[in-house]
Symmetry: none
């Protein structure tokens, strides 16, 4: 009963779902620890304490497993961050809450964040092209652009190229996580606040100090 047969409206049994979750979890831990290129199905199976074939039984292949990991983490981040953003009055606060939110998620789910980044960077399709690269980021960019445009229309933000800003913000956030991965003692929340300050300075209309005296990252 391969997963490829499942989207036909069939439900997954409880045990099936549990196994898939267990395997996804083992994949996350393995990728976070060893990096995507070393996270072979054999190693993931060893991490999970199961036979190699179990993964093939529950997932169509490595690609589907990775898709599920990405979807899992993505969904989780969205559930954490989006509601908080919606609750904000201003675009500025929404932007700040966004960055703060993903940083908090990362802090609480370090391995999942690391695995997500690894998969984004390394996963390729059969022809060698990135599976989640570039073009898949488009929805993210568009989401940010909508946020910027709302701020521009409300007069909060000045006039600037929203695509360049979206790419830069996304990159800066990714860079923050990567820096934190390399320096695990780095103060991630403080970095997130600083980064939000910088980004708001970059695009806000009124330059008067928008943030209280900031603390430095350690």
């Amino acid at each position: 009963m391969r997963s490829k047969n499942k989207p036909d409206g069939q439900k997954r049994s409880f045990i099936e779902r549990a196994r898939r979750e267990q395997i996804i979890d083992a994949a996350v831990r393995t990728i976070a620890e060893l990096g995507y290129p070393n996270a072979s199905l054999a190693r993931i199976a060893r991490t999970a304490g199961i036979s190699k074939g179990v993964i093939s039984y529950h997932f169509e292949g490595k690609d589907e497993l990775m898709d599920q990991v990405v979807m899992d983490v993505y969904t989780e981040i969205g559930e954490t961050v989006v509601p908080r953003m919606m609750a904000q009055d201003s675009s500025s606060e929404a932007l700040r809450v966004h960055i703060r939110g993903v940083a908090e998620y990362a802090l609480e789910h370090r391995e999942r964040m690391a695995a997500l980044a690894q998969i984004f960077i390394h996963a390729r399709d059969a022809r060698g092209n990135p599976r989640y690269g570039g073009l898949q980021a488009e929805p993210l960019y568009e989401g940010l652009e909508n946020l910027y445009r709302a701020g521009q229309e409300s007069g909060e933000f000045r006039d600037f190229d929203v695509r360049v800003m979206a790419v830069s913000q996304q990159s800066a956030v990714d860079g923050m996580f990567e820096y934190w991965r390399v320096h695990p003692d780095h103060d991630l929340p403080a970095h997130a606040e600083q980064l939000a300050d910088l980004l708001l300075h970059a695009i806000r209309v009124e330059p008067s100090s928008p943030a209280p005296p900031t603390t430095r990252s350690p």
Copy 2:
């Protein structure tokens, strides 16, 4: 006479240096075209029109070859950008020239830039850790930090966390190149100008429009 024995002060013969340069060049072209994971030594050798064994003879292994590629390109970028930065009067102009400079280098040496990014992302040591991750970036961060501090001391820049800014700027520049790689028709110079504007807005003290009316990225 493996290359690992070479740092002992022995000189490389002319022919040796030529061969290494030829191999490095083939590596750059192969990585840029096929991506790091597909750039096996066999493919690099084929690109160079030489036998696989030659690479092993001239380089300790794949890792050393990648080191050399990175060093080569890095040095070239530095030689292009640093003198121009030194020629500027203000920190703002230095920062702008820096971003403009690397963008120009990338435009003129697209393959080298692409290969550099691929190696940074994919190369790992035996234990799965990134070979060029984070720690190797430290000199870059420090260089940017010095630039920021100079601007802060001269009153050009406001007070902000220089490490966070350095990480963010570096990430935004990397993101710019990646976006350009995925969208080859993207207007890189325009993006670079926009990015410089954003960064300067983020850190300059005076809020009055510091840049002339900018053009948008296409």
Copy 3:
């Protein structure tokens, strides 16, 4: 209650027999469509719309399933052809009816014929030897030999090596089906008539035209 325990004189329940027939049918369709090597138990189960385990429950293993398919089809062919042959007066007519009969059966049960051929060709025992090769064909050869000898004794057929003829006739018939499988628009009945002519020319005593003006295969 594995099937391997069944030949001990125990009867199969109605439901048991129905299930086995269902599975055999699914095996035939799967093999005919995908070829023996691609007809895994999983695919056969999917064709039948049942779980993989059911097959293992009702059959000792893949080998026994294949045995049953072969026996099923074989029996059916025999039931179709043998009575017709018995009704003929001469050995010549019996031979012609035999070939015509199997061709007619094949036309009406294309999948079963195709599956039979696939199993004959591909099925092997654990040591790599064909499961239905040669030795299992002995009864067929002997049946044909009896037919030839009867014709020789009645003076219809000349003197020739009956074993060589039996092997050749069987092969020519198999070849006819294989050719038809590869060229589905081939005129099988016409081919069968032509083949009967050729075989009779090869062994009949009187060379004068034994067949009415024949039509050619398209």
Copy 4:
């Protein structure tokens, strides 16, 4: 230096050719002994006493190796049989010499013949279709058809459907080898002579005994 790079007019070194011949030979022996489905690259390598990777080094893949085996044996058979056929005056003698010739080749190269048959039967392409099946036999059929037509035009052979005859003859010859494979003590040359008699009786115009008193297969 994969073989796929070789057709570009590059010569193979002596040692390269020797290795390829050695591997082809090991493949023939392995297939003949264990059957195609059990002749994995690992087993072939073990037969040859070499590492698994050597095969991948010298051949593009399993498919190319099998192609080479087929081509090798085919060429050898052609070199044995064709000149002898050309030396005959009549179509009848050419047909007889053809069958006698392949039988003699088989007798002297039993394993090669067995391996050829195995590959023809079992080798499939990626989509599951036979690699050498049916359509590839067309040249053989056409060769036989030309022979028949020449005989018909010279008045040696009667009028009959040449395609049916070609398929039947080819099948009967294949069946002869298969019978001999199953019964290794079978008198192959005698079978071949008998078969030639039968085929000539089937198609020759004059009914008077064309062959001397024949011996029976044992």
